[in-house]
């Protein structure tokens, strides 16, 4: 996190959870960045990362685990899906390389 802040980046976590659930989650895991609620899945659809999950033979549409790095011009600089999205190091590396201004 400190590395990301040093690279002039802000971080948002995004899921379909309610703000209340996200707040409890934030406190539990001690994150300092905001967790955003996409309760109507609008952003997940916009970003094309709505994924069907089977849970006890019922289908649920939740987020595909994905990390995007967006630069100051609003341009996507990196997209990582699934397992590679869990490790923040490459997102940090991308941010560090981006111009400061």
């Amino acid at each position: 996190m400190a590395k990301l802040e040093a690279s002039d980046a802000v971080v948002f976590g995004i899921s379909i959870d309610s703000p209340a659930a996200n707040n409890a989650f934030a406190q539990k895991i001690g994150v300092t960045f905001p967790l955003l609620s996409d309760m109507n899945r609008k952003v997940l659809k916009q970003y094309g990362i709505l994924k069907m999950y089977d849970v006890q033979k019922e289908e649920y549409d939740w987020a595909q685990r994905t990390t995007f790095v967006v630069d100051k011009r609003g341009v996507i600089q990196s997209v990582e899906e699934e397992a590679s999205a869990i490790n923040p190091n490459s997102a940090i590396a991308v941010c560090t390389k981006l111009p400061k201004k």
Partner: protein, 79 residues
């Protein structure tokens, strides 16, 4: 013209549905949707509520900060 296009699209969709019976069977693995966004594309703007019920607009950070958007499946689960 537009009308014809809609008709053709609909016909194609119906044909595909007819040719693929049970395409979504119970055994089917969860469908993976790969994002169509790629490096160099504009990130679609959004407004979402944060965990303090405060609105966050992606566009507010334009020209100011780089933004890392980390989408996760569900709170209180692994990853």
């Amino acid at each position: 013209m537009r009308h014809t296009f809609v008709k053709v699209s609909l016909a194609t969709a119906l044909l595909c549905a007819a040719l693929l019976p049970g395409a979504r069977s119970a055994q089917e693995k969860p469908k993976v949707n790969h994002t169509s966004l790629k490096v160099g594309d504009s990130a679609p703007d959004f407004t979402l509520l944060d965990n303090q019920w405060k609105q966050v607009h992606l566009s507010d950070y334009r020209g100011k900060k780089n933004v890392v958007l980390a989408f996760y499946v569900l709170a209180f689960t692994e990853g």
